[in-house]
């Protein structure tokens, strides 16, 4: 029994939350009575089966144990201590990554169902690895089943857009010092024609060779000489500089260069190679993206497999399917057809050229950055239709409605130091009908062309509906 008494209401000024007819709120506003209008929608978008599952999960003891598990998930996320410790060849980081094995972005997908840019990247990487003489041969080999395709996520790795990871590519190594796990991501290639957007001509392959032979090893030496670069704090500073760490990494890319430049110089054996490394990093506003992604993976992996937790541990896309994983349901992927980004295009391109959404990069949204931290990065809001900068904060506020909590260490100054919304709860996604907002680049649908724009995409509700059914079963409902 608590100490409320209904007559308490008569001793306080009325503060109303109005759920339903807007006119009632307008009338209260006209009387200067404080009122908050809820933009109410039927739970689960009116899907009665899902709504009834949600209602069952609301019942006292079940709700309690889910909330407790989610609290633990959030605690693991917030206590993570990701540090950039090295750059090494992928097969050194991932010993099981063998010959003719190609890791790709998103949930599992075979050659037949791969989208254009993914096929282009596969052909390119096969030539790069020396498995095929040329792109045509590579495609023929892929079609003949000569390559083994696996998601990056199955090997502790993530990759942007097409997300190609193969044995000889250097990968960034992030260690989560709190839990001792590691995660990997290739090095960002820069803007323009690049493999992550399906680019595969000689210019693209030459850059990858230079990264493999010169830049990757140099970066590894430099990072090792610093003893590792803690990322949590660096990221907090990036947020205050206008980064959201998905479409905008200018601040963090600058900060990491500032930290690594002396070490690069100290460990350099060739001045012109040093110049090339510094110029490459300094000329790439998105250099930090791949670090942020590996960091996301390193933060989320220890959150997997918590009994009763409805927190999303991974979101990713392969250009064909969107896939999510949830803590309590472990390694299982729940997929739905991926959606088209809504965005702005480079001159000469339009929606007609766009490939559906792609990449493991949505791992940054999974940890509360990207679309979730839009409020830190008002310019990015402009990507959605005629959105104005002032709307950026609304994206972040909306995401607070589908998350377990906020991250007190990663705050948004312009939103009165609101912590980024952290720990996506599938129940809240379905109840509110608010899909996670993901900031993304847009690839040309034809292989080899590259990036044509950037925009925002929403995670398909169908993924969440599917996983809810499976999740409910794990807690004994449904």
């Amino acid at each position: 029994m608590n100490n409320n008494h209904p007559s308490k209401l008569l001793t306080e000024p009325l503060h109303v939350v109005n759920i339903g007819l807007k006119a009632f709120a307008d009338n209260l506003e006209a009387q200067q009575v404080p009122v908050v209008q809820v933009d109410w929608v039927p739970p689960a978008g009116g899907n009665t089966e899902i709504a009834s599952l949600l209602a069952k999960l609301e019942s006292g003891p079940i709700k309690e144990k889910i909330n407790r598990a989610n609290k633990e998930a959030l605690a693991r996320m917030l206590s993570a201590d990701p540090v950039l410790i090295d750059v090494v060849p992928a097969n050194e980081a991932i010993p099981t990554l063998g010959d003719r094995m190609i890791l790709h972005a998103g949930p599992p997908v075979g050659w037949e169902r791969m989208c254009g840019p993914m096929k282009g990247a596969v052909a390119g990487i096969a030539v790069f690895e020396g498995w095929a003489e040329d792109l045509i041969t590579a495609e023929r080999m892929a079609a003949a089943g000569e390559f083994a395709f696996h998601p990056n996520h199955h090997f502790g790795a993530v990759g942007p857009m097409t997300g190609m990871t193969t044995r000889s590519q250097p990968v960034l190594v992030i260690e989560n010092k709190k839990f001792g796990n590691r995660a990997y991501c290739t090095i960002n290639e820069g803007l323009g024609k690049v493999m992550r957007f399906g680019g595969n001509d000689e210019e693209v392959l030459d850059r990858l060779r230079w990264i493999r032979d010169e830049f990757g090893p140099a970066l590894g030496r430099a990072i090792r000489s610093t003893g590792g670069i803690p990322l949590k704090n660096l990221l907090a500073r990036g947020l205050s500089m206008g980064d959201e760490m998905h479409q905008r990494n200018v601040g963090c890319s600058g900060l990491i260069l500032r930290q690594l430049a002396p070490a690069l110089a100290k460990t350099a054996d060739d001045l012109s190679a040093l110049e090339r490394s510094l110029a490459f990093m300094g000329g790439n506003d998105q250099f930090f993206l791949n670090i942020a992604m590996a960091m996301g993976k390193a933060i989320m992996d220890p959150v997997a497999g918590i009994e009763n937790s409805s927190v999303v541990t991974a979101m990713c896309r392969n250009g064909t399917d969107f896939g999510i994983r949830v803590s309590a349901t472990g390694d299982e992927w729940f997929t739905a057809p991926v959606e088209m980004p809504n965005g702005l295009y480079f001159p000469g391109f339009s929606e007609k050229d766009a490939n559906p959404d792609m990449g493991d990069s949505a791992i940054v949204e999974t940890i509360g950055l990207g679309g979730f931290a839009m409020g830190a990065s008002p310019a990015v809001a402009g990507f959605v239709g005629a959105g104005v900068a002032a709307d950026a904060a609304n994206f972040t506020r909306a995401m607070t409605e589908i998350t377990v909590g906020e991250n007190p260490e990663w705050t948004i100054p312009a939103m009165d130091y609101l912590g980024v919304p952290t720990g996506i709860d599938i129940r809240l996604v379905l109840e509110t009908g608010l899909a996670p907002t993901i900031n993304t680049g847009i690839a040309h649908k034809k292989p080899g062309v590259g990036q044509v724009g950037a925009g925002v995409v929403r995670a398909p509700q169908a993924c969440f509906e599917k996983v809810l059914v499976a999740f409910a079963r794990t807690v004994g409902v449904g």
Binding site: M1, N2, N3, N4, H5, P6, S7, K8, L9, L10, E12, L14, H15, V16, V17, N18, I19, G20, F24, N27, L28, Q31, V33, P34, V36, D39, W40, V41, P42, P43, A55, E58, G190, G192, L344, Y345, F346, P347, G348, A379, V380, G382, F383, A386, V388, A390, D391, A393, N394, R397, A398, T400, E401, L428, E431, T432, G433, L434, G453, A454
Partner: protein, 500 residues
């Protein structure tokens, strides 16, 4: 005509790439512009512009810190226009062109996060969802008013029991009216504050009584709605009993008025037992009830008007209004009264007055002793347009009075109808000019048309203003009575005049 490529470089001018992409899209969408882009002159951007065929020799010279405007148009005039517009956009860029949208939470939980001082949830979502929202509100320690109807009675009982455990008040479901701490909620009127507390199972009942008290010189401390089913056996008056506790403890409440249809016997018993323990005085208005044994501190009122007068300490509300004097003669040979109501309780009150006068009547919502309206109306007939059969999929007649227009116009030429009775309810939630609407529907009065008698439920403090609504009705040839009960009495007097 020849295609033209126009470049202009703004040296040392930086603007964010997203802003530039939006400008680019605007310019590229102008008439006769084939392609356009505003970009910083970095090598990769220049490459993109070259491939799009919009980079000329001037743009080539730009460096990474310069902004390039590149336009390819069908002719020079279009290019010039696009260039001018580009520069215009760049110069305006510091100014907000469009106001950002205000964020609104999607859920109760988010609303509470944004404002922790919230103490009442007003719920008007579709009935099938209302109970779930109400339960969430209770768990967040909010008092709840549920305007929604069609909530299963089992849910109502469960919610009210839960609320009692939590020490919170549930008003409704199907609670149309409340006035808490002087704030009218949902369908309610701006009334003077004073010493009378009202507990009502009926929205229009509360509206009529609170307005008559306010217009009669008194005032309202609190008006607590409990929902139409609260005094039924299944619910057992849970909210009514809690509301009694609340008003008992409220020092501003001196006198309490209870308004409801006749409750279930067992419920009436427990309510009256509670009243007996109270230190305050009561007026009990269970419309249509008879033979109640009341405790000494309570008096019975058979109509809403009588309840208001009792709460005012016996003051007469309609001083100077004498139905027999105000009555007119209905057209020859037309002997029936047709009542077209938007307020259910106003319809009940009229039925009661006609029943007591010994008239034979029927209604779609009959009170005891009144026949259920079947098929084509015959004799005196009282229709509640707020009943479910009329409101499925359309707004309540208090919001949208057009629902009774057709019946009204038809009644004018009905050979049997001598008097049309109509209620006009104003206040928050109601139509912004219901009297004006009625006046616009009625054709100029003819001698063979039935008399139209109306009353206005509302106060001069309401935005529609009662006095001006009355004036509008009178100017349209409508006889206006000071209360709903008086309108019924006036109709009876008109019939008598005919008979005499």
């Amino acid at each position: 005509m020849k295609k033209v490529i126009v470049n202009q470089v703004k040296t040392g001018f930086y603007l964010d790439s997203v802003a530039l992409m939006r400008f680019s899209r605007t310019i590229a969408g102008m008439d006769d512009v084939e392609e356009a882009a505003l970009m910083m002159g970095t090598p990769s951007n220049k490459k993109i512009m070259t491939e799009a065929g919009i980079l000329g020799p001037e743009g080539e010279k730009a460096s990474g810190g310069d902004l390039i405007i590149g336009i390819r148009a069908a002719h020079q005039a279009a290019a010039d226009k696009a260039l001018a517009e580009s520069i215009n956009l760049l110069e305006q860029s510091a100014v907000t062109r469009k106001k950002g949208e205000t964020w609104r939470p999607r859920t109760l939980a988010a609303a509470l996060k944004s404002d922790s001082t919230i103490n009442l949830a007003l719920i008007s979502v579709a009935g099938e969802f209302a109970a779930a929202e109400a339960r969430k509100a209770l768990h967040q320690e909010l008092n709840v008013m549920i305007f929604s109807d069609n909530v299963p009675v089992g849910e109502e009982v469960a919610l009210k029991n839960e609320a009692r455990e939590l020490g919170l008040l549930v008003m409704g479901p199907d609670c149309g009216t409340a006035i808490i701490n002087g704030v009218p909620l949902a369908f309610a009127n701006q009334v003077k504050r004073g010493g009378v507390g009202i507990i009502g199972a009926s929205g229009t009942g509360i509206q009529e009584v609170s307005c008559l008290i306010s217009q009669g010189g008194g005032g309202i401390s609190q008006a607590i709605g409990v929902g139409g089913r609260d005094l039924k056996k299944e619910v057992g008056g849970i909210s009514t009993l809690m509301a009694l506790e609340v008003l008992e403890a409220d020092p501003a409440t001196r006198h309490i008025v209870l308004i409801s249809k006749p409750p279930a016997a067992s419920v009436a018993e427990s309510i009256l037992a509670r009243i007996k323990e109270s230190r305050k005085n009561f007026t009990v208005c269970f419309l249509g009830a008879s033979g109640l044994e009341l405790p000494n501190n309570a008096v019975f009122s058979s109509t809403l008007k009588a309840a208001a007068e009792s709460a005012l300490g016996g003051t007469s509300i309609s001083t100077g209004f004498l139905p027999d004097q105000a009555a007119a003669s209905p057209p020859k040979g037309k002997n029936s009264v047709l009542g077209l109501f938007s307020g259910g309780t106003l319809c009940s009150e009229t039925q009661f007055i006609f029943r007591e006068a010994g008239e034979s009547i029927n209604s779609n919502v009959p009170i005891p002793g009144v026949s259920k309206l079947e098929g084509i109306p015959k004799g005196h007939c009282f229709i509640d347009f707020g009943d479910d059969e009329y409101t499925q999929g359309r707004p309540h007649p208090m919001i949208d009075p057009t629902i009774r227009d057709e019946a009204l116009v038809k009644a004018l030429s009905n050979p049997d109808v001598g008097v049309i009775l109509i209620d006009v309810v104003i206040g928050y939630g109601a139509h912004n000019d219901p009297a004006g609407h009625l006046a616009s529907v009625l054709p100029p009065r003819r001698a063979d048309n039935p008399l139209v008698i109306a009353s206005v439920t509302g106060t001069d403090l309401d935005i529609q203003n009662r006095a001006s609504q009355v004036r509008t009705l009178e100017e349209a040839g409508i006889l206006v009575a000071p209360s709903n009960a008086d309108a019924a009495l006036l109709a009876l007097a008109c019939l008598k005049r005919k008979g005499g």
